[in-house]
């Protein structure tokens, strides 16, 4: 219902064309009855939009294929775009026909299209990755025998613990020896092989529990002749005396972190069937230039000798393979150097599943 209070709103709607026919009739009836409002129609200003238009708005449009609509309008200023679209096979059949026709009519456009077509890169097929075999992986099977042997060993360890607590006897079981591992052994019972400066889990005091690394053992490699005089050897020997847990082993590794240290990384004997690390692995031992800040996010990092990189790459793959990725060789883009690292976190988890044995001197 139009009245004197809302007449202005109706007038505005009328000017903007927003009134229905019924409301228009109602408005005119009201103006006839109240002619003083008729002049409002003449007084309302008429806004005229400035003549500003967006050029090339066609380029903003999208066709159904998602291409700019500009492809549908071949013009002199977009010939390069058409040429690229043609070589990229982005033209639809009609566009292709059109472009082919124009090329046939104009040598310059034909040449332009040929020049763009010539920018198509051709892969150099003779450049191939020749060391593919080094990238291959073998599935790592956890054999029943392995786990059963761990189970037996764990039962044995528990039995020994129980017996010890009851009888206060002093068992002399060595975890490493029980597992038939020469690389993890009490320092008192070091064999000839240990002269290669094995990092050992040492003999410890009574009632002290040693968790052996039955997955992998790491040993430094030095000649027996050098061992007596090499300060590095003495250093590791000192470390061995203190070793009674994994952290100490890590620390002893870090303490060896000086130039010229060679590490031979031996695998769990139970993995030998699958293990590409064979007896010759020591021939491919890492020469470590330095250990890098030791334990970072449960990993220990080292820098191998850069002069023997080729060797390390294949060796690194074998290591990763044998250790299920727990020891990795890699390239650190930030430092632009090769690194290897031991994932210690996984070691420690698996360590809990491994043998616990009470040893004493």
């Amino acid at each position: 219902m139009i009245n004197k209070e809302n007449i202005e709103a109706f007038l505005l709607d009328y000017i903007e064309g927003n009134l229905s026919e019924n409301l228009k009739n109602e408005l005119f009836e009201f103006l006839d009855e109240n002619p003083e409002y008729k002049e409002y129609l003449d007084e309302l200003p008429e806004l005229v939009a400035p003549e500003i238009t967006l050029e090339n708005k066609v380029e903003l449009k999208k066709s159904l294929e998602g291409k700019p609509e500009v492809f549908e309008q071949l013009q002199e200023n977009n010939l390069e775009l058409w040429s690229v679209a043609s070589m990229e096979d982005e033209l639809n059949p009609q566009e292709k026909l059109l472009f082919d026709r124009i090329k046939s009519e104009s040598n310059s456009i034909k040449k332009l299209a040929q020049q763009f077509a010539a920018t198509k890169l051709i892969p150099e097929r003779d450049l191939v990755f020749q060391q593919k075999k080094e990238l291959y992986r073998k599935p790592i099977y956890v054999s029943f025998i392995r786990w059963s042997s761990i189970g037996v060993a764990a039962s044995l360890a528990l039995f020994i613990l129980w017996q010890q607590s009851n009888s206060n006897n002093q068992p002399t079981l060595s975890a490493g020896k029980k597992k038939g591992k020469t690389e993890i052994s009490p320092s008192k019972s070091r064999t000839k092989d240990d002269s290669k400066n094995t990092i050992n889990i040492p003999s410890v005091n009574e009632n002290e529990v040693v968790e052996s690394w039955n997955e992998l053992a790491i040993k430094t490699k030095e000649s027996p002749i050098e061992e007596k005089t090499n300060p590095l050897s003495e250093k590791s020997e000192l470390a061995i005396e203190k070793v009674n847990n994994q952290d100490t082993v890590i620390n002893s590794l870090q303490s060896l972190g000086s130039e010229g240290v060679e590490l031979a990384i031996l695998s769990n004997p139970s993995l030998n069937n699958e293990n590409p690390l064979n007896a010759k692995v020591e021939d491919k031992a890492l020469t470590v230039t330095e250990f890098v800040s030791g334990k970072i996010n449960n990993r220990i990092y080292g820098k191998p000798n850069p002069s023997r990189e080729e060797k390390y790459m294949s060796f690194g793959d074998k290591l990763a393979n044998a250790s299920g990725g727990r020891i990795q060789m890699g390239y650190d883009a930030r430092s632009n150097k090769r690194l290897f690292c031991f994932k210690l976190g996984i070691f420690s988890i698996e360590k809990k599943k491994s043998v616990k044995a009470v040893t004493n001197k």
Binding site: E80, Q115, F116, L121, L127, F129, K132, D317, M329
Partner: protein, 162 residues
């Protein structure tokens, strides 16, 4: 993804990855390192990577390593700056692929990357966008600019050699 699929991906993609890395870095040894690094990364993530997307995963890994390396060594190429290079250094004989490779090395990194992924590997714009973290439209723009630059380089040499 299984170990078998992993090994198949070595056969299927290691060559392409190497070519991509070599052309990007111009250092074959480093390129091999990055390819090995990509496969090592894949191996550690084997259970989470979809076998259907392994190629994209590997190229993305190599691409990111290339970018990291370029940032580290400040080897970004600026095409405009390179335009001032004297043509005197160029061979007088016209070998299109050779000159195309020269022109490729003068492209900005991102243009070089997208055009190589396009031509060497036949990736779609969408796939290139996934690898390089660009929109499809941005990929198109970079490919167009790259082609234009390559074309201009070749034409200049054509004119020079006559």
């Amino acid at each position: 993804m299984t170990t078998k699929q992993y090994n198949e991906s070595v056969d299927a993609h290691s060559d392409g990855l190497l070519r991509f890395a070599v052309k990007s870095l111009r250092d074959e040894e480093l390129a091999r390192d990055l390819v090995q690094e990509a496969y090592l990364k894949l191996w550690t993530k084997l259970e989470t990577v979809d076998a259907q997307k392994v190629k994209s995963y590997l190229f993305t890994a190599v691409y990111h390593s290339i970018v990291d390396h370029s940032r580290k060594t400040e080897r970004h190429r600026n095409y405009e700056a390179q335009q001032t290079t004297s043509f005197d250094e160029l061979n007088t004989s016209f070998d299109l692929q050779q000159h195309l490779n020269e022109a490729l090395q003068r492209l900005p990194e991102i243009q070089k990357t997208v055009v190589m992924l396009r031509d060497y590997e036949g990736y779609s714009y969408e796939e290139i966008g996934e690898i390089t973290n660009l929109s499809e439209q941005q990929v198109k723009v970079y490919i167009f600019r790259a082609r234009k630059s390559l074309k201009e380089y070749i034409v200049n040499i054509e004119n020079l050699v006559g």
